[in-house]
């Protein structure tokens, strides 16, 4: 049985096709989901792609949070469905309170686009189990609102419970606290990641193919479930 991985398209999403392509390269079936739909088409997992949903009006991810499909997604996520939010998708997950903290303007105020080295800190989540803990990968980062912040208690909880999924190595591109590039919820099924693994799935178009592991991870999870 092929895993069905939904990719939600909001008005202003940019990387939904790249995410779908990455899903296909991981031998799963990508299922396009429209933000205004009212059901999740019986998918096994969902990706919230990068982009500028609703033009990033008000705050990045603030309006997308109220999309009709997001209510269903929130229920499914709390029920254990694997959900990956990439870049704008991470912002949507924070605005939806499915993940703690918030993403604010880069400390430099500049849009940053570079091949970024990351360390996978938690290889037990539904989206990182294909990696080794401590493994370093190079995948693109491209954002202007990528500075992860949280209050000191939340940050301490994330650190002490191993919920920092990935950390920037060498350069912190956006000023994120503790070099945080990605986090997960308590159960490890909901992951938010600022860099873009879907842009590093083939050597022809990416700095590496080391992003593919995020998509392979969720497929492995389906097979083992």
């Amino acid at each position: 049985m092929t895993a069905r991985v939904g990719v939600i398209t909001f008005p202003g999403s940019l990387d939904d096709r790249d995410a779908a392509r990455a899903v296909r390269l991981a031998d799963a079936e990508p299922v396009p989901l429209w933000h205004a739909a009212t059901d999740l088409s019986e998918v096994d997992a969902v990706i919230l792609p990068g982009g500028f949903s609703y033009g990033d009006y008000l705050r990045a991810g603030a309006i997308a949070r109220f999309a009709p499909l997001m209510e269903r997604l929130a229920d499914a996520a709390r029920g254990g469905m694997p959900v990956l939010g990439i870049c704008n998708g991470f912002q949507v997950l924070c605005e939806s309170h499915l993940l703690p903290g918030a993403l604010t303007r880069n400390a430099s105020l500049h849009f940053v686009c570079r091949a970024q080295r990351l360390r996978i800190e938690n290889a037990k989540t539904d989206w990182t189990r294909a990696y080794e803990e401590g493994q370093e990968v190079v995948i693109p980062v491209k954002n202007i609102d990528g500075c992860f912040i949280a209050d000191p208690e939340t940050l301490e909880e994330l650190e002490s419970s191993g919920r920092v999924v990935a950390r920037y190595v060498d350069v912190n591109p956006n000023g994120s606290l503790n070099d945080i590039a990605g986090i997960c919820n308590e159960a490890g099924n909901v992951v938010g990641l600022m860099p873009h693994p879907e842009h590093a799935v083939e050597s022809l178009t990416g700095p590496s193919s080391e992003g593919l592991g995020f998509f392979v991870s969720v497929v492995q999870r389906m097979v083992s479930a």
Binding site: A62, T104, N106
Partner: protein, 80 residues
């Protein structure tokens, strides 16, 4: 018709990089003595009916759920 103003500001402990950039630009334009700038948002909301307690509560709810992100921002509201 009721008219409310909601002002949203980043919490004091949150880095306001945009405010800092403005603060750095001011001396370059000859405005000396600026010791700090913080940048926020102002919303003007018009509602049907009087600016009574119920209307204030509705606007407070709007601010809590959409206009401000309570993780990083605070807000103040007043009727005008």
């Amino acid at each position: 018709m009721a008219r409310f103003v909601v002002e949203v500001m980043l919490k004091p402990e949150i880095l306001d990089s945009q405010g800092q950039a403005v603060a750095r630009a001011l001396p370059r334009l000859g405005f000396e003595g600026v010791t700090g700038v913080r940048q926020g948002k102002r919303f003007e909301i018009e509602l049907e009916g009087p600016a009574d307690e119920a209307a204030t509560e509705r606007v407070r709810k709007m601010a809590e759920t959409l206009l401000a992100n309570p993780v990083i921002e605070t807000f103040e509201l007043r009727a005008e």
